[in-house]
Symmetry: C2
Subunit: 100 residues, 2 copies
DNA sequence: CGTAAGGTTCGAGAATCATCGAACTATCGG
DNA sequence: CCGATAGTTCGATGATTCTCGAACCTTACG
């Protein structure tokens, strides 16, 4: 599967990594936007719209490697989804409090 | 009041700063220990017991400046307290989920 | 095919953060 | 007063992290 990026298993997700990923205003804004449902990366404008795409990609990488979001190929786009089920199972109440 | 360190007001506490402060394993361990009640700094051994005191003091500084703990002089010691009331008021459910 | 759209990866420089020894401050006990 | 105790602050070094351009990789579309 070319284009597939590595994602941690649910059991591999570390609370400290999640907290770190969410500790940046831009990444937190992205996460909040994804709480309303999956989104194409191109449609995700939680931040400065003329943010360089490499920077935006890096934000997504941090969130993905922490286990906060999934980033899966979808045609020539990327589908971003919040891993709410995994995070709710591992850290009940965390997302609810942070996304408020 | 010599020895008094600056603490943010409740209204100044930023969620991202709190998340960052808690995103380190040592700082998270300290926070969890303080969830059981205030503690003298000398009695707080959440971490490596032969951790240099300057490093330990730095951890406390990050937690204090984020608004997670209070650090107040108490004789020649320091009394550490979790700011549970402020954090619960600002971010309901956050501490409960993180301290679990 | 060729080309463009949508993103990732790489590499470099800047900025931030961690770690710890050494010096300093303040307080209590004798 | 003196020394010991408890901790902060300073300064330096090393490690992460951020930012962004440039190059690269796929997929869709004509």
């Amino acid at each position: 599967m070319p284009g597939d990026l590595p994602h941690p298993e649910r059991s591999e997700i570390q609370l400290t990594d999640v907290l770190f990923a969410l500790s940046d205003p831009e990444r937190l804004a992205i996460t909040r936007q994804l709480a309303d449902g999956p989104l194409d990366m191109a449609a995700c404008h939680a931040t400065d719209p003329n943010l360089p795409k490499s920077t935006k990609s890096h934000f997504m990488k941090v969130l993905r490697e922490a286990g906060v979001i999934r980033n899966e190929p979808n045609g020539r786009r990327r589908m971003l989804t919040l891993r709410r089920d995994d995070l709710d199972a591992l850290f009940p109440g965390l997302l609810d409090s942070v996304l408020r």
